[in-house]
Symmetry: C2
Subunit: 77 residues, 2 copies
Amino acid sequence: MKIKVIVTLKNGVLDPQGKAIQQTLNSMGFPNVNGVRQGKYFDIEIDEKDEIKAKSKVDEMCKKLLANLVIEDFKII
Amino acid sequence: MKIKVIVTLKNGVLDPQGKAIQQTLNSMGFPNVNGVRQGKYFDIEIDEKDEIKAKSKVDEMCKKLLANLVIEDFKII
């Protein structure tokens, strides 16, 4: 089954890339964009039929590899 | 209001970064991961109270800047 994960910077962590995107959007005719935060997205195909077990494996993967928990949060969707 | 966007590579487009993550996961004790595709995620804070209008603006932003429609798809969530 396929599990989706979103990894985002924690609130308070500076996101210069998001800021650059925001400024570019502002200058491209979208003046009412007040903030952009960029994150990562993963589609994980895992050979496991039980959704609960698959999600728990993916949770482990996020903690070990996919997210840096010092500065990032992750959400399994 | 805050609008969320996911940008993913189209099916068929090679994703060497996803492949590298998959191989790393396999070697870290997750042998049943059969595929990983990486994408981008954006949190866009837009000064617009009407959700339909906000989403239509974000759709325009994706087409103009956030996604490369030749190789990527986007989804507003």
